[in-house]
Amino acid sequence: MDISFDLLINAIVAGLLLGGFYAAVTAGVSISFGMLDIVNIAHPGFIILGSYIAYFVNINFGVDPILVSLIMLPVFFALGAFVYQVYYLSFEKRGQESLRGLAFFFGLLFVTEVSLILVFGVDYRYVEAAYIGPSIHIGLVDLPLRMLVPCVAALVLFSGIQLFITRTFTGRAIMAVSQDQLALQLMAVDPIRIKRIAFGISIATAAIAGALLIIIQPVEPSVGREYIGRIFAICVLGGLGSMPGTLIAAMLLGVVESLTATFYGPSWAPAVAFGFLLLTLAFRPAGLLGR
């Protein structure tokens, strides 16, 4: 096959930028699914909610979407803590998380999506910011700021979470809760409180991921569904609960998707994530850097 060199290089660079963004989208699920064993399939719903808040504030008050998401962090954290509390009381405590808990999150995803449709309609929405549009050229490579800024922001977010988890007491407690809840209790730490905080953080990342999403592409309420497969594919491929693994897997998926889109057409890209997911589940369920 005749592949021109600069097309290939550009596709790989675009894939890496996309992968960085995917890492931000997956960070939350990596905490909730990977560490807390909560299969939060409603996560894309929260991301889209974040996108719409960023859109609403940006259009009405002209505030930068990333700044909006930073202001919204505490709100999303509180929302996450609340959702966890409901989830804990209704399902985890009764030992019913596998069937009813999943249905609960599925219902949440659906309700968020339909509510957004009722409020904003099904039109695509986009934000305005100085860095949407221009791009930097380095030699053969084009770096659109629209992709570069979210990628950098995502990497900052990702390193922040990694530092928090490995360096602070609460962060280490989150790691501990994922390994042995009873042992944590014996250390006089309330595992439920730790899980509530962890889930709050996981939802808080959705605020940022949402803002980054609407910078990268116009958003409509059902866009989130396309991300479910990607998020969980990355999460499983990276190895549950492993943040470095998640980052590598996100970059890998980004590059493969970008290559697929460039050489076979963008309509095939969603199938890539699923292929990843199935192959991982079939051959290495523990993921790349799994426990």
Binding site: V39, A103, V114, A271
Partner: protein, 336 residues
Amino acid sequence: MSTAKFSLTAVAIGVLVMAFAHWFHIDYLFFASYTILQFIVLATAWNILGGYCGYVNFGSAAFFALGAYSSVALIKFDGEIDTWFSEGIADFLHHIFPLPIPVLIVFGALVSGIVGFGMGYLTLRLRGSFFAIATLALAVVLQTLIVNWDFVGGSRGAYVIRPENLEFAGIQVNYIEYLFALMLLLAVIALTTARVIERSQLGFGFATIRDDELAAEACGVPTLRLKLIATTLSGAFMGMAGAPFPYYIGYLQPSSAFGLEYAVNSIAMPMIGGTTSWVGPLVGAILLGSAQQYATVTISSAVNLLIVGLMLVGFVIIAPNGLVGLVQERLRRRQQ
């Protein structure tokens, strides 16, 4: 009640409903009840895996659409016979095609059943949530495949012309009544199967998986085999429900066949009705199905989906065993 008696009663009720609708000559009644029956099949199918085994399938829409698109593929194949085959074979094929809908249903069941088996084989050996996630992703990918497959219409969709009438043993039957009767039969088959499973060794095996898979495994229950049986059956029934759909809707496009409302409804209906017995999905499908028909006509289709979502969330939190569970609890209390 024995199985034979049960299915006879179910058929009798179905014939009564049909006679009623026919007598009033309201085509809309057939259209509306077809949708409800279709949801009874979907909800029952979902419950075979979800309610009995405790494995959540989010991809009902995918299995449904597979059934519908396998029909479309066969219908399109009929149109291409002359260009693809030499005269002799074409003549022979023209005797067989166009296939009657019951054959399409069997075909749809086969395709969806095989896909269900494959999915199950890859993911069911792992933790339960992996299966759920994989089914969620399956819907997106199958939609991608269909959108890219021009033969069945791609993203443009496919027209399937529904004949006005069907000649059946010299009698003219209105086509929508014929579709309705087929779906009624499917609903009876699905409910009977679910009821038989519930009372058989298979059903007890499923229940052990739902309650404690590890303990079941330790007691020598062949869990993987049972789970595969459940996924295959469940997928096949969903495919059956989808196979006549192109004839019903007349114009099939990927976004309608893979509509999220199928996935949501087939989970919400058993959850709201109750997942432990065949009655639950039936009650849930009739209640939610008719409420939605009513709300779609009077309010709007987005609002009615919101109501379904809220009811699903509300029911799983407040009434974990659904309506059937609530009734059983009340009866038990009265006895005491």
